[in-house]
C-alpha cells in the first residue's frame, strides 16, 4: 500500500497574519505550521498503513522554503519520505495551478491512495483535491468522516446535513478527510529525531515540466481584486428579561433562522 498525503504550510492562525501588496497571503514573514486540517489526513494515512501492516507514505507540499517545516512535522508523526515543490515562480499560484503542479508530482510517484485534508486553514477552498483527482483521472471521495481501506477499495462515510452517505471508490483513488476522522497523534520524541533522516526531494517547475507562465499570479485563472479587513464586531442585541426573556430569545433566534 503506497499512500501520498498532500500537506500545506499555512500561517499560524494564532499569530499575526498579513497579505502582501499583490494580495497574496504572506507566507514568509509570518509564523507558519502544518495546516491543522492536514494533520487529520496524516493520521488517517498512518492508520491505513498500520491496519494494513505494511506500506509507505510520501508527503507532498508546494510552497516556499519554510514550507519544509510542514513536511518535517508530518514525517515526525510517521511516514517515509517527502516531496517539496519549491520555485519562486509559484508565488501567487491559484487552486487550478496548484492542482496542475501536484498532478505533475503525482505522475512521478507510485500510489494506491491520495489523502488530503478537507480544506486548507488559510485558503479554505476545498477544491484542490478534486481538481487533482480530475487531472489524474482518479475517483474522488471527499469530506470523509471515516475512512477504511480493504480489498482494493477505499470506503468513506460522508456526513451531510440530512443524511450520511457511505461511498466506496476503487483504488487508486483520492480521499479528503474532515476533522471528524479522529484526533491526530503527537509526534514522538523518537519520531522527531527519525524525521531528520527521512529523505525530502525538492522539485522545481522545470523538473516537473511545468512552464512558469502556467502558474504564479500570471498563470492564475482567478484574481484577488481587493483585500478588506473584517470590520470589528458590533455590539450584540441585549435582551432585558421582563418576564418575557425566553420569548424574546426565541424570537431573536427565529429571526436569525437558528430555530
Amino acid at each position: 500500500m503506497k499512500i501520498v498525503v498532500l500537506v500545506k504550510f499555512v500561517p499560524d492562525a494564532t499569530a499575526a497574519r498579513a497579505f502582501g501588496a499583490d494580495h497574496t497571503t504572506d507566507r514568509v514573514g509570518v509564523d507558519g505550521l502544518l495546516s491543522e486540517l492536514d494533520e487529520y489526513a496524516v493520521e488517517q494515512a498512518l492508520q491505513v498503513i498500520e491496519a494494513a501492516g505494511e506500506g509507505e507514505i510520501t508527503y507532498v507540499t508546494m510552497g516556499p522554503e519554510n514550507a519544509g517545516a510542514a513536511l518535517r512535522k508530518a514525517l515526525s508523526m510517521g511516514g517515509d519520505q517527502a516531496v517539496h515543490v519549491l520555485d519562486d515562480a509559484l508565488h501567487g499560484t491559484d487552486a487550478l495551478g496548484t492542482s496542475l503542479v501536484l498532478a505533475k508530482v503525482l505522475e512521478k510517484l507510485e500510489y494506491d491512495l491520495v489523502v488530503a485534508g478537507m480544506a486548507s486553514t488559510d485558503g479554505g477552498m476545498s477544491v484542490v483535491p478534486v481538481m487533482l483527482a480530475e487531472r489524474l483521472g482518479l475517483p474522488a471521495a471527499t469530506f470523509a468522516s471515516t475512512l477504511s481501506v480493504a480489498d482494493g477499495k477505499a470506503t468513506i462515510r460522508r456526513d451531510g446535513d440530512l443524511a450520511s452517505e457511505t461511498v466506496e471508490v476503487t483504488l487508486p483513488a483520492l480521499v479528503s478527510v474532515t476533522d471528524q476522522t479522529g484526533e491526530a497523534r503527537y509526534p514522538s520524541f523518537k519520531g522527531i529525531m527519525a524525521a531528520k533522516k527521512k529523505p525530502v526531494t525538492t522539485y522545481t517547475l522545470a523538473d516537473l515540466g511545468v512552464a512558469p507562465d502556467q502558474v504564479g499570479l500570471g498563470g492564475a485563472a482567478t484574481e484577488v481584486v481587493e483585500v478588506t479587513a473584517r470590520p470589528p464586531r458590533q455590539a450584540g442585541v441585549k435582551v432585558n428579561d421582563e418576564g418575557d426573556g425566553g420569548v424574546k430569545l426565541a424570537e431573536f433566534l427565529a429571526s436569525q433562522k437558528f430555530i
Binding site: 509526534p187 514522538s188 520524541f189 523518537k190 519520531g191 522527531i192
Partner: protein, 382 residues
C-alpha cells in the same frame, strides 16, 4: 499560560524534546489540570499520550526503548510538565523512579525480559518503600518475604504509594531476613498478583489527581527470578533510587514555583489599586523579585546536581540540597503568589491556592526535608 523559561540546552535533540513537551503540555495538560484536580481524577489517558510520545522513559537506555537523555535534559522536561500540571510531573518522576531498580540493578537476562515493557510508554510503575509504621525510618520496614520454593511469599502493607491500584508493576522493598537495612530485598512484582489489594485512595489536601493508596500484600507469591539485586541489597537499591527520585521532585517543585510566579507577575500587571497596577508598587515588586530569585536558584541547584550525575560524579548530597531548597522555595513562592493575588488568591477561581496546597506535599515526599538536612549534615560532619 505557556512557560516562557529560556533554557540553555546541551543539544538540538534536547531543544526538539523540550518543544514537543511544551506542545503537549500547553494543549493537553494545562487546560485539563484545574478540573481534574478539583474532581480528583487520575489522568491515565494524558499519561498514555506522554508514553506514546516517548516522554515516560527519557533517562533510560535507547537499546531498551528509553530516550537516552541525560538527567540535565530529562529533569527540564519534568519541570515543564509540572509547570502545566504537577500531578503529571509527579507521575512521570515516580514512574522513572520505578524503572530505576531494574535498569540499574537487574541482570542482563532480567532487563532483556522486562525492561522494554517498563519503558514502552503503555505501563506505569510504582515504588513501594514506606509502610504505615516506617516512613523516614525506611529501614524499619516490616513487610515480610519468605522464600518458598521458586517464590517469595510476601505479606505486609505498603503506604503512601503513588499509582497504588493503577500501576502495572510494583517495586516492593521487603524484609527477607533479620532486622535493619541489611535484611531488605527488592522485588519487581507485576500489578495483578493473587493476594494483592489496594486501600481507598488517600484524600489529600493537594495533588488530588495523583493516585496515592496503600498496597496490601497478603501471601502474594512473587517469583524469586523477579528479585532485583542480591538478597539483602534492597536498601542500597532503595537509597540509590531515591537519590535520582529526589532530583525529579526538585524539578517538579521548580516547575510548580515557576507557574505560581508567572501567574502572580501577570496578575500584578493587570490588577489595579489606587489607580495603578499593583505591580508598580515596590511592596509587590519585592515579593515577586524574591520569588523569581528563589526559582532561578532552585533550578540552578537541581541542574548542578544533574550534571554531576550525568558526569558520573557522586551526587547524593547535591540531590538532597536540590530537593530541600527547591521544595522549600516552592512552598514559599506559592504562598507569596497567593499573597500577591490577595482574596482572589484564596479562592478556587484562580490556580494559586491549588499551587500552594500542591507545594506542601513536595516538602514531604522522597524523604522529608528534615531527612534531606540529615543527609547534608552527615556529609559535613562524617
Amino acid at each position: 499560560m505557556a512557560s516562557s523559561v529560556e533554557r540553555l540546552l546541551p543539544s538540538e535533540e534536547a531543544r526538539e524534546l523540550l518543544g514537543l513537551t511544551r506542545e503537549i503540555a500547553d494543549a493537553e495538560l494545562a487546560p485539563a489540570a484545574a478540573a481534574a484536580e478539583h474532581e480528583g481524577v487520575f489522568p491515565r489517558e494524558a499519561l498514555r499520550k506522554l508514553g506514546r510520545a516517548g516522554l515516560l522513559s527519557l533517562p533510560y537506555d535507547p537499546a531498551y526503548g528509553g530516550g537516552g537523555q541525560p538527567y540535565e535534559v530529562y529533569l527540564q522536561v519534568l519541570e515543564e510538565l509540572s509547570y502545566a500540571w504537577l500531578t503529571i510531573g509527579i507521575s512521570v518522576s515516580v514512574h522513572s523512579l520505578a524503572c530505576f531498580p531494574l535498569a540499574e540493578y537487574g541482570t542482563d537476562a532480567q532487563r532483556q525480559r522486562w525492561l522494554a515493557d517498563l519503558l514502552g510508554g503503555e505501563q506505569l510503575g510504582a515504588y513501594c518503600l514506606s509502610e504505615p509504621q516506617s516512613g523516614s525510618d525506611a529501614a524499619g520496614l516490616q513487610t515480610r518475604a519468605v522464600r518458598d520454593g521458586e517464590d517469595y511469599v510476601v505479606t505486609g502493607t505498603k503506604a503512601w504509594i503513588t499509582h497504588g491500584g493503577v500501576a502495572d508493576f510494583y517495586n516492593l522493598l521487603v524484609r527477607t531476613s533479620g532486622d535493619g537495612p541489611r535484611g531488605i530485598s527488592c522485588l519487581l512484582a507485576p500489578g495483578q498478583l493473587a493476594g494483592m489489594s489496594f486501600g481507598e485512595p488517600e484524600r489529600k489536601m493537594g495533588a488530588k489527581g495523583s493516585r496515592t493508596a496503600q498496597v496490601i500484600l497478603d501471601g502474594v507469591r512473587v517469583p524469586a527470578e523477579r528479585r532485583l539485586g542480591q538478597e539483602g541489597q534492597g536498601f542500597s537499591i532503595a537509597l540509590a533510587a531515591l537519590d535520582a527520585g529526589r532530583l525529579g521532585i526538585a524539578a517538579c517543585a521548580v516547575g510548580l514555583a515557576q507557574s505560581a510566579l508567572d501567574f502572580a507577575a501577570s496578575y500584578a500587571t493587570q490588577r489595579e489599586q489606587f489607580g495603578r497596577p499593583i505591580g508598580s508598587f515596590q511592596g509587590i515588586q519585592f515579593l515577586l523579585a524574591d520569588m523569581a530569585t528563589a526559582v532561578s536558584a532552585a533550578r540552578a541547584l537541581y541542574l548542578e546536581a544533574a550534571r554531576r550525575k550525568d558526569a558520573g560524579l557522586p551526587f547524593s548530597v547535591e540531590a538532597a540540597k536540590a530537593k530541600l531548597f527547591a521544595t522549600d522555595a516552592a512552598m514559599r513562592v506559592t504562598t507569596d503568589a497567593v499573597q500577591v493575588l490577595g482574596g482572589y488568591g484564596y479562592v478556587e477561581d484562580f490556580p494559586v491556592e491549588r499551587y500552594l496546597r500542591e507545594a506542601k506535599v513536595l516538602q514531604i515526599v522522597e524523604g522529608t526535608n528534615q531527612i534531606q538536612r540529615m543527609v547534608i549534615g552527615r556529609a559535613l560532619t562524617g
